[in-house]
């Protein structure tokens, strides 16, 4: 069993998925509006408020990141 796991690991890396992340010039998809972690601030705030007032848990989203990574 261990051997097949090792095999998959090797295949996985051999297939070019070296380090996680992308090159700066490969961020075209990540820069798209619909790929932002919070696409619609207003809708997110609306949902957070509704569920906050109907359930005992709240929020959790909080931060941006990803995106076009340009500054």
């Amino acid at each position: 069993m261990k051997r097949t796991i090792l095999l998959f690991a090797v295949l996985f890396f051999a297939s070019g998925c070296t380090s996680m992340g992308v090159q700066p010039w490969d961020r075209d998809i990540l820069a798209k509006a619909e790929m932002q972690l919070t696409t619609d601030e207003l809708e997110a705030a609306t949902d957070d408020h509704i569920y906050f007032s109907k359930e005992a848990s709240s929020g959790g989203r909080g931060f941006g990141g990803g995106g076009c990574g340009c500054n």
Binding site: L7, P24, W25, D28, G69
Partner: protein
């Protein structure tokens, strides 16, 4: 024993696949989309941009003004586009026209060669072909700083 040979067989198959892919890609194409030596004796600003990069919209008018201001004393600006789809680049250029040169690097080979670390990235290459300055991103408030780097390169052993 059989599982060991299986593994080796798998590995061989993978290596063959990976190497063949690389060979096919580069067989029939000139090496890169930009040839700095063609501009030896001139100062070249190589600016990597993409249609999805927001600060690039700010840098294009500035690059245009640099082209107008310094083209005559030997400045060449080349905007290297890294969009995967050519149509995205031309869409951007309709909205933000460039009066400087535009080259295309869809696979990011040139970007990798220059070691681009963020978008946009600008490299100032002196008349002798050596890298003299580079800046990451584009801040409007740093425009004088970027321009100073260009002027320095232009005046360097301008003779």
């Amino acid at each position: 024993m059989t599982t060991l040979t299986n593994t080796r067989m798998y590995l061989a198959a993978v290596l063959l696949f990976v190497s063949s892919a690389m060979f096919a890609a580069s067989a029939d194409e000139p090496n890169s989309t930009l040839d700095i030596d063609a501009f030896r004796g001139q100062v070249v600003v190589v600016d990597f941009w993409a249609s999805w990069c927001v600060p690039c919209r700010r840098s294009f008018p500035w690059l245009n003004s640099m082209h107008e201001k310094y083209a005559d004393n030997g400045l060449v600006i080349i905007g290297v586009n890294v969009d995967k789809e050519r149509a995205d680049a031309s869409g951007f250029l309709q909205e933000y026209p460039a009066r400087f040169r535009i080259s295309y690097d869809p696979e990011g080979r040139l970007a990798e060669q220059y070691g681009v670390e963020g978008m946009p990235s600008s490299f100032v290459i002196g008349r002798d072909g050596q890298l003299m300055n580079k800046h990451l991103g584009f801040k409007v408030r740093k425009q004088q700083e970027y321009e100073a780097a260009i002027v320095a390169a232009l005046e360097e052993n301008a003779g």
